[in-house]
Each structure stands twice: as structure tokens, then as C-alpha cells.
Amino acid sequence: MSMGMSKIVKTVSSVVFPFIVIYGLYIIAHGHLTPGGGFQGGAVVASGCAMLLVAHGSIWTIGKIREKQLSILESTGAVAFILLALLGLVFGTVFFKNFLVGNKFLFGEIPGYLSRVANFNTGGVLPLMNFAVGLKVIAGLFAIVLVMAYATSTFKKGEMEDGKR
């Protein structure tokens, strides 16, 4: 039924997919240096997954990943995000404290005042939060598209469950 699109589109989307994913991860990872961040990169990767969905059909896609797994992934991202915020409460003083800024090992360096050098090892807790949110957004947005596409493609014409339960 839903067999996806022509061979050309399938091939091109397969070739472009890793490219989109790595680019989305690049945007997520460089959220504190260049335009981007968790949401933007997540949206890019989710769009890439949506491309696979439209090229190969939702039945193929649901064979690769199910919406329950996506839901769990999303929960993981959300829990990671809120745990990072709670760690601010534990190591710092308040909720959402940026407790990593100022240390020397992990994302702790501080660029000089008004410096314009892009140093990856900065930003405190921001890169970690970017990844948590990125995971969440990827899983969430793709889950929306996947669920809607799969559910509507399995509807038959004129099919409707009876009104009485």
C-alpha cells in the first residue's frame, strides 16, 4: 500500500540522510558558538527522519523504529534535561544553576571579555543541555510525524470504529 516513492528518491534520501543527521548534530553541538542549539538541530534531524519516512513509506519506517521506543527516547531526553537542572540545585545553589561554568575540564572555560574566538570547551552546562533537548526534540517531532503518518495510512476509506464502546 504505502510503498514510498521512486527508486531515485529512495537512493538520494538514503545518501543524504547521514549528511542531515551529522549536520543536525553539528548544529546541536555548536549551539553555544554558532547559530543553533538543541531545538534547531533536533528539528533538522527530525526532518531528516521525516524524509526517510516519506521516501520509504511509513510501514518500512515503523519496522525500523516504533513510536514506543521514540516515546522512551523522548522521556530519556526530558529526564536528562531536568536532571541537569536539578544538579544545579545540588552542586550550585538554585534550580537551573549553571554549575559547570568556571571549571577547567568539561565545557568550563570562559572566553575572554568580548573575545571573538570560538572555543568549543566553553559554555558550562549549555552543551549538555543542548544534547538533552536535542534528543528530546528529535524523538518528539519524529514521533509526531511517524504516528500521524502511520495511523492515517492504515485507515481504510470509510472505516470508522463504531460509536459505542
Partner: protein
Amino acid sequence: MFFDNLPALAVAVPLFGAFLTPLVSKIGDRARNVFVILVMGLTTTVVFLLVNDVFTNGIQTYVFGGSYQPGETVIRIFFEVDGLSAFMAIIAVVLPLVAVIYSWGFMKKETGLDKYYTLILLMTTGMIGLVLTGDMFNFFVFLEITSISSAALVAFWVNKGKAVDAGFKYIVISTIGALFVLFAIALLYGQYDALNMAVLANSIQYTFLDKMALVLLLVALAMKAGIVPMHMWLPDAYGCAPSSVTLVLIGATQASLYGVFRVVFTLYGRELTTAVNQVSLNVLLSVFIVALALATIVVGVLMALKQSNLKRMIAFAAVAEIGYMILAVGAALSTITVDSNTGVTMLTESGEMALKGGLFHIINDALDIGLLFLVAGAIYYATRETSVNKLGGLARNMKYTTVFFLIGLLAVSGMPPMNGFASKLLIYESTYQINPILAVIAILCSILLLAVFVKVFHSVFLGPKLSVFKDTKEVPKSMLLAMGIIAIVIVFFGIFPELVVNNIVQPAADALTDMLKNGLYVKAVLGVI
């Protein structure tokens, strides 16, 4: 450490629970139910600790992600909990707790329960955040959380077309409302470059754009609170949602009402008595609000008379009850005056009494209407029927439910031993002093409401036992427990109204008047005005 961070934890705990629910659901249904109830219990504990703190020590502020000394530029997000917020937080956390207990039995046969519980927890988060926050944009975000989760829950029974329709209506209305709120926030931000409510309240200038923002905020929040010209979504949503969800929805509606209070009294409270064409702004606002309130009451009661569906009938009663609250607050608003000697803005005594009545009625309304909806849900659970005309003679088989319905009936129509009487009496008394006509209309409508429900009671519970409902059994224990909790609280509030008014309602009313008199809300953030 724990006690310093109560405002943050009040939001973080249910949110964390919501994020964990899909993971916990993997273990099993029972574990999930226990987990959700535990999370709700923990949230309730945190909120009550917070409320206790606020009522004893005054306004609590909490800065996310940094420290703040008065005098610095306000950048970060603030939580600011005063009496009113604390008062609303109690409602926002108690109703979902009861709803979760109720849905253990009520929702047993449904699928998709992990998402259901997740959404209930998220809705709780939204409501708590909505009432605790002190930042305009954060307010918008929580408003969206509340409305999206409510809409999804309203459409829980997707195989009923009406439920999905109601959910769609609800989400369109609330999204447009939220976008208006966002536009108003943008207008305020564009002028004052601030998003904090206290800072905005301090620097507001009453330019034309400010007035526009006020109108937009009021329209949007009134839309969400179900005040008359925009009330059409409310009966649908209340009537089509599962009863446990309706209970939480009442809380969401009242959180929007809280938004109205916050905007009028805090954000625009500083110069509420500014004259606009020789009429001061508060009088204008109060005339407007009282007219809407009267319309709300009358429309609600009249429409309730016409309904044959039990849940829709209760929903229109809920509309009427919202009218009572607005009526009291609008009446109170008209009595604001500036003392010419001291220059202090204050309310008259009857105004304060009306305010107290209105606030007390908020909590009573939540309980009364909530109980009625739970009873309607129980009837639906037992008989799969909601039409009044087809029901009859249920009293024999469902004794407890009958008693609970009776309690709810008396309470909602303001009969003596119940809590509804206490608050409505305050409203009648004070509005009579302000304008007798208001009180008369209010009393008449209340009596009509009583008539409506007595008729329902007669036709549903009394009368001959119908053969269709021969095998109906009493509902599961958890549902009875949930209804019982609310019923006991209703009776308790009815017997000791003074206790409640002095301990819970008085601080909230004080918080509202303090904003006008001393600007405590602003002082708590900025140090000085």
C-alpha cells in the same frame, strides 16, 4: 536546601514524575498507578509546605539559575508566591490528586492510560506553574502547557465525535487566547524591556499600548475562563471529557481566572484609579466585569434548565458559578478609592468582604462542581448513560453515590449546611451593600439552580427502579474514596467557614489588597518602589 527551593520543587516534582511515567509504565499498570499517586502526594506535600511558608513568612521569591540582590537588573525568571498564588496552588494540587485516585477505578477499562496519567501530571505542572510564576512569558508557557494537555485529555474518548470536536474547539480557543497573551507580552516588552511582572507593574505608564495590552490580556484570559460571550467551548469540553479530567479542567479554568486577578490587580494595580474621562479606570473595569458576570450567571442558569444531558447541565451550572466569582471581584473593584489624606489606595469594608466571598467561592466552586461531575462520572461508569430522561431509580443500587449527589446539589445551590452557603452568603451580603440589584439577581439564579438540580435528583435517583438498570452495582472503592474526600471537605467547609476564611482566604484577599495599598508584590522583588 530542600526548604529553600520549595517553589522550584513544586513544579519540578510533578514534571519529573510526568517525564518518568512512560518509563515506569513499562513495569506494569499497578506500578504506574502507585507511582502517579505517590508523585501527586509528594507534590501536594511540597505545595502545602510552600503554602505554610507563605502564610507565615509573607511573599516568597525564587530566582532560577542565579542569585539576585534588590537593585540589580532583573534578568532571570522569578517565581513569586504571595497569598493569592498559594491559595490557588492549593486548588491546583488538590483537584488532580482526587482525580488520580478517582481514575484508578474509573479508567480501568481504557487503553492509553500511561499517556493519560502523563497528561494529568503535566496539567498539574501547568496549573501550579501558572499560579506561582512571576514572569510574563513564563506565564504564557504554562498557559500553553495547561491548555494543550487539557485539550488532549478532553478528547480522550476519541471514538466519540463530540469529544474530539470539543477538544478541537478548546484548543483553538485557548491557542488564540494564548497568542493574544503573547502579543500583549510583546507589547509590554517592547516598551519597558522587561518581562518580570513586578518590574512591569512598577514601570507601567498607561500609554495607549498598555491599555491595548490590558484589553488583550483580559479578553484572552476571560476566553479561557469561560466568561459569557466566549463560553461556548466550556460546556462541550466539560461535558465530553472523562469526569476525572473535568475535575482537573475546573482547576485549569480557575487558574485562568487567577490570571485575570493577577493582571488587573498586580500588573495594572498601581494606577488602577487613574481617571479616564472623569471616570476612574477601576469603575470602568468593574462595570464591565459586573455586566459580564451577570450575563454569565443568567446564561449559565437558563441554559442549565434546558439541558437533558446530565454532564452538560452541570457544565452550565459551572458557567454560572464562574459568574458568581467574577461578580464578587467586579463589585469589589468598584469600591477602590484613594484616601485623600494619606494617599493610600484601599477598598471599603464591603469591598473586602466581596473579595473574600469571591475568593472563597473559587475553592467552593471547584469542590461542588467537581463533586457533581464525579457523581455524573460514577453514574456513567455504572450505567453507560448520561441522559437525564433515560435514567431513574438509581438510589436503590447506588446508595453512596446518591448521598454524594445530594451533598453536591445542596452545596452548589448554596443551601445552609454546605460550603456553598458560606461563600454565597458573603457575596450576597457585600453586593447588597454595593448595589442591591446584583444581590437579588444572584439569589434568584441560585434558587433556579436549586430547582434544576432537585428535578434532576428526583428523576435520576428517586422514582421507580428501571428494568434496564437492574444489575447496576455501586462503583469501585477508589471512586467512592475520591468522592468521599471531596464530600467531607465540603461539609467541613460548610460547618466551619470561619476557620477556612481566616486561614486560607484571608491571606489571599490580603495579598490582593496589599498589592493596591503597599505594592508588596513589587517590593518583594525590587526592594523599594
